[in-house]
């Protein structure tokens, strides 16, 4: 009768997670879909639901344990009638994922090469031209071999066939390995040592950090002094959100040449409208400055398509996105997260405002699903609620621009004849200077300011 409860598939590419909280104890009666425990993966905190109505009989994990997908975490006695045989359902609304999660998968809407046509069963169905253009799945597999490392020379690397195969599997050019055996013979250990040394050189000699970014070498860290010499210290492990943020930020900072352009928009009229609107609005549809900015930025991205792009240096291409998904930085207790609002260019401000309020709340409660943190084409970071006069945001790779918003202050504005008070909101636009020229950066931010000051521009130009 006892049934094992296993960790279900959480998200593509997630193979394990850390148990951060147990929600039940042995002997507890649970209902289907009731949360049994919370698990933190490198994409999100996920609630593992109960697959049945019944009673928990054993718990096989403790908080802090790392568990693999498919591992048994608990056993229970389903009450009869439950659909006990079925595997655990996928976790419902997974909790938030890190803001700065580097996007490992291609963005869903990106124009993925049309799927290779499966060779048809009958010749009539198989258009030869199409089939010829698409190599069969097997050949296009991820297991590409670097054939340039195969050399047709009589000065062949002194390594046995099994060692050459090992090197090939590890992606090591056997000709670069120095053999320690007689006559320079390369052993399997020599190949492994070569890999270890290469990794150490890249990582600066320190322990190899657990990496998820593309350029692990950029995380090299110099040795730290012993701080306890100067006073007491404590250590705490980095949360997943923190380590992923660190990875994404250092990747962006060290690979993207960034420029920040500053400007100010007079929001006096817009603020007056917003306050008036909110007096009547339902709290769920409360209009925020961020919601308005999402719409303005979406229109600006349509007018300046290069700001909605990604640079692919490997292919020598600029990928222009035909969609507008805007990410919004949300401050949460566990760190910065950036949920994404889809198709902002096709939605009205009212809709965007409602969606934003709901998404922000879900994010703060860490109920946002990992998928909702992916695929952004531009990011807005509004710190106006906290204060400050200006800041330089960091572009969230692989995007090429980010808009920072600071607190609006009433300032004297010279209109050519006299000063009058203006409610000036400071904006800072950081962009990837490889893709965007300074003049375009200035024009883009000016466009945003004019749209805010005279919203008719949104309709005129957008």
């Amino acid at each position: 009768m006892a049934q094992e409860i296993r960790v279900p598939e959480v998200s593509d590419g997630v193979t394990e997670g850390t148990v951060i909280a147990l929600a039940v104890a042995v002997g507890d009666t649970v209902e289907t879909d009731q949360t049994l425990l919370e698990m933190e993966t490198d994409k999100a905190v996920v609630a593992i639901p109960s697959p049945f109505d019944g009673k928990i009989t054993t718990i096989d994990v403790a908080e802090g344990d790392t568990v693999a997908i498919g591992a048994v975490i608990m056993t229970g006695e389903p009450t009869s009638g439950g659909a006990a045989a079925a595997p655990a359902p996928a976790p419902d609304a997974a909790a938030p994922a890190p803001a700065a999660a580097p996007e490992p998968a291609p963005e869903p809407e990106a124009p993925v090469a049309a799927a290779a046509p499966e060779p048809a069963d009958s010749p009539a169905e198989a258009a030869p031209a199409a089939a010829a253009a698409a190599p069969p799945a097997a050949t296009a597999s991820a297991d590409e071999v670097d054939l340039t490392t195969v050399r047709d020379s009589d000065l062949v690397a002194p390594a046995a066939p099994s060692v050459r195969r090992l090197a090939r599997d590890l992606g090591v050019d056997i000709y670069q390995v120095q053999g320690a055996g007689p006559g320079g013979r390369i052993s399997a250990d020599d190949v492994r040592e070569f890999v270890r040394e290469t990794m150490q050189r890249i990582t600066g000699g320190g322990p190899v950090p657990k990496v998820s970014g593309e350029f692990p070498g950029l995380h090299a860290q110099r040795p730290l002094p012993d701080f306890s010499k100067w006073g007491p210290v404590t250590q705490e492990p980095l949360s997943k959100v923190r380590s992923i943020t660190a990875d994404a930020m250092s990747y962006a900072w060290s690979t993207i040449p960034m420029v920040t352009q500053y400007d100010k928009a007079d929001i006096a009229e817009l603020e007056a409208f917003r306050k008036e609107y909110n007096r009547k609005a339902d709290p769920a549809g409360k209009l925020t400055m961020t919601a308005i900015l999402i719409k303005v930025c979406a229109a600006a991205l349509k007018a300046f398509p290069q700001f909605n792009s990604t640079l692919d240096l490997a292919r020598g291409e600029l990928i222009l996105k035909q969609y507008v998904h805007i990410g919004v930085a949300v401050d949460t207790p566990s760190g910065l997260l950036v949920p994404v609002l889809r198709d902002a260019d096709r939605k009205g401000i009212e809709t965007l405002a409602t969606e934003l309020n709901e998404t922000a709340a879900k994010t703060r409660e860490r109920r946002i699903s990992p998928a909702d943190l992916e695929g952004g084409s531009f990011t807005i970071s509004n710190l106006g609620g906290i204060g400050g006069t200006a800041f330089t945001p960091i572009v969230y790779a692989p995007q090429v621009a980010i808009l920072g918003v600071s607190r609006a202050e009433t300032e004297p504005v010279w209109d050519g004849q006299e000063f009058h008070p203006g409610l000036m909101m400071p904006l800072s636009l950081t962009y990837d200077h490889r893709v965007i020229d300074g003049a375009d950066g200035a024009r883009f931010l000016r466009w945003i300011c004019q749209a805010i000051e005279e919203p008719i521009n949104l309709v005129m130009k957008g």
Binding site: A126, P128, T139, V150, P182, G183
Partner: protein
Amino acid sequence: MSEKTTIPASAQLVVIGAGPGGYAAAFKAAELGLQVTVIDPEANPGGVCLHRGCIPSKALLHVAKLVNEAEESSAIGVTFAKPAIDVDRVRAWKDEVVGKLTGGLGMKVEHKKLTYVRGMARFKNATTLAVTGVDGAQGDMVFEQAILATGSRPIMLPGVDPGSERIFDSTGALELKDIPESLLVVGGGYIGLELGSAYQAMGSKVSVVEMTGGLLPGCDRDLVSVLKRRLDTKFAAIMMNTKVAGLKELKQSVAVTLEDKKGEQTQQKFSKVLVSIGRRPNTEDLGLENTAAELDEKGFVKVDAQRRTAEPTIFAIGDIAGEPMLAHKAYAEAAVAAEAAAGRKAVYDPRAIPAVVFTDPEIAWCGLTETEARAAKRKVTTAKLPWRGVGRTLTLGREDGITKLIIDPETERVLGVAVAGPGAGELIAEGVLAIEMAAVAADLRGTIHPHPTLSETIYEAAEQLFKP
């Protein structure tokens, strides 16, 4: 054949040609989970190797060995009567050997659930073949990937009637229609010398004519001379630097005009003439021009290190993919192509491909030869051990042989191994392993070899390098 050939409309992997390369690739790919269709005109797999090459010739050479040993045993006090050769029975036995091996492969095709189509194929494009069954059935077959393994065929002298009774190539010689009184072998390569030896032992007077200055071009001369010393006593004549200027088929013989280096012509008559001047890859009539695959100037299909042609869906292996045209090279390529087709990381990068001439004595070598080292001005150390005085060779009643190691003077790595003498073909495997494992001379010397065997000659050759 009562049922008409069924031509499947599609195949995941199609293997064209079922010789050693083709059937090995097909079996390997099937093991890796691919759905495999094999196309070959023969009833069973086997190709040239089994039907018209390695296997039947080795059967005939076994006959030759029995005859020679019986004859030579009188020197050690055992005398047999002159052997009587029943050609029909020898032929039948040879055919039984071939039948057993090819039939076994046919069973394996069924066992592995391959689709076997008796016929020929032509590429219409990179993913479609036009298939013609041996019974004339026709159909198109769409495939995801193809492995081309159509092999090679003997080159004939120009002007010879293909149906000639008296002038034949290796295929005709292996049919063993009769034992001609005299046989001229045109070409002193391994095929001519092997078949010439077999016919000689069965009673023919064999002569060899070779255009260049030596037998077995490419092989080190010290090895060839071991063989030549014996062939000189067996063959009626070995004519070097001589070419065939004309062939005229008469009623009872062939009149051959031979021309020596100085241009002087002489005419001789032979009962039959075996033309063994080389082999040519079967790359015509495959429709390769309808694909992106390319040929080199010698007619071989160009392939990369995975044996993939310029057309990503098509692999080529075996004789059509370049020298050496040997079955075991095709096996190795077959494994690589099959794995690559299944998406694995296999690469063809042998350090040594052994070559064996199954004459008596045999000659075998692998890796770097002395000739090649000299041509490349590469410094090597050689250790040569003549078999004279080695226990095992004397007890076999033979002492003609030599074992040679070619060593890199700096690293002491074994770069090449060569053996001439009875059983050389079996000994060479150790040399191939030594080269593949990047062994040094001290490894060969430090390996215990069984006594008394011929393999000790490898140990003793290595030992020479360490004499003070």
